[in-house]
Amino acid sequence: MSLARLLRSPDAVAGFVILGLLGAMALAAPLLFPGDPLAIAGQPLLRPFQDWALPLGTDRLGRDVLAGLFHGARTSLAVGLAAAAASILVGSIVGTIAGFAGGLVDEVLMRITDAFQTVPGFLLSLALVSVVGPSLGVVVMAIALSAWTGPARIARAEVLSIRERDYVASARVIGMHPVEIAFREVLPNALPPVLALSSVIVAAAILTEAALSFLGLGDPNRVTWGGMIAEGRAVLRSAPYLSVIPGIALVLAVLGVYLAGEGVVEGTAARERQA
């Protein structure tokens, strides 16, 4: 896809700028704030813009809010991307197998998918994390557990149409193994609509992670925006900035992912119309 077409849409540009900034924040966090962001840095409840050593102030325990924001970006982006990648991977494999094999296999896999879809996703994540215990990997798994059904259904629908194409039949004529046909001929062509879903999944994953952290089920060894909001909740009236600042970061992250995702999808759609 051409970069020029992407840059023509202001929404997409805004999305990529926001994402770029967040990405830079995440990458720069250990360089700009090499210490532990959970360590006490100054006097507690210092308001923003009072002390230039701590520009965004400190929380109830005297921890640097700006450092938390930077390190929180790491967690949010990492969890969002990892969870989305895991759910798209699992979902597209399940969907491809179901659509390509058909019959009983399809029936069983789709009923399992239905079962997962009938349970509210957040409840599922909550249950898993509270049973296994909060750590980054478990949080990623918990989010993927509730998000893989969308990609699975879309992949299956695509595969159902693609497996009837002539190039699949000709792969059969040259004696390609069915598994190889499914994953080399069918899956790559079924992926674009599934990938279009990825921005929604990433955004939802970031929000789910924040919600889990807000409920105290995030990884306790990492700063998360959700955890920071929860931390500020107790002093919401006297020091609202403690919840507002990470809240704004969260809104921007989700917005950036959405806008950039939309831009990419529109760009690809325009290219396909031309082709």
């Binding site: 000709s170 040259i174 004696g175 390609m176 001929e185």
Partner: protein, 275 residues
Amino acid sequence: MSVILEARNIVRDYHVPGSLLKKAKTVHAVKGVSFTVEKGKTLAIVGESGCGKSTLGRILTLIDPATSGDLLIEGKKIDIAKGDMTPEMRRKVQIVFQNPYGSLNPRQKIGDILTEPLVINTDTPADERRDRAMTLLKKVGLEEKHYNRYPHMFSGGQRQRIAIARALMLNPKLLVLDEPVSALDLSVQAQVLNLLADLQDELQLTYVFISHDLSVVRYIADEVMVMYFGEAVEYGSRDEVFADPKHSYTKTLFAATPRADVESIRARLARKKAA
């Protein structure tokens, strides 16, 4: 003359599963068709849409199994339902599909499309595979520079040439051509038909040519089989069938072919005036 392909009483039924309101039914797509094709000859299978000719083509190329009946290739009985396909059997029959826009995987380069049959069925080293692909590209009227391009960069006629080259990669004895020119412009049709005729002479290929276009059939066929609702209603040499059609459907079919000679145009105009 040696017989390459022999079909005895081929039957193919499709079962349409019933639902609450509809009863299950069986569609007889091919109802007991028998024929033989000799080496270097062309058998044309003619018939209207839905008469079972493509289903028969898929059975001949071992994509779908026949419900009953025997298929003998070079005197050897083949039954794909038993799943004992060896690469040697695969190599004997290849297919060219009707729609050149659907028969090439849009995500593979031409070189990969062409070398794939060799990768799967032989242990030819990579440079020999490449050489053979290059040779065939030139043989079907394309150039070496096309090796690294994607299917969307080609016109319909060029794509059909690529599909023909792919079918020839394994040195097949028998080529099933499923309406190979009906999706092409008239001028390109002639080019591709000439290419097919040349290749047949050069490589001693045997063709099963599926078509509904009688002018094309008259040009390329040695023998003609007319199918009507799954049955072979007429089967004989080209001159026999064209000179003296026996079955009423064949007569209707021939009468439906538009004629472009001056006499028939005058007659048509006269009829129009009279009416």
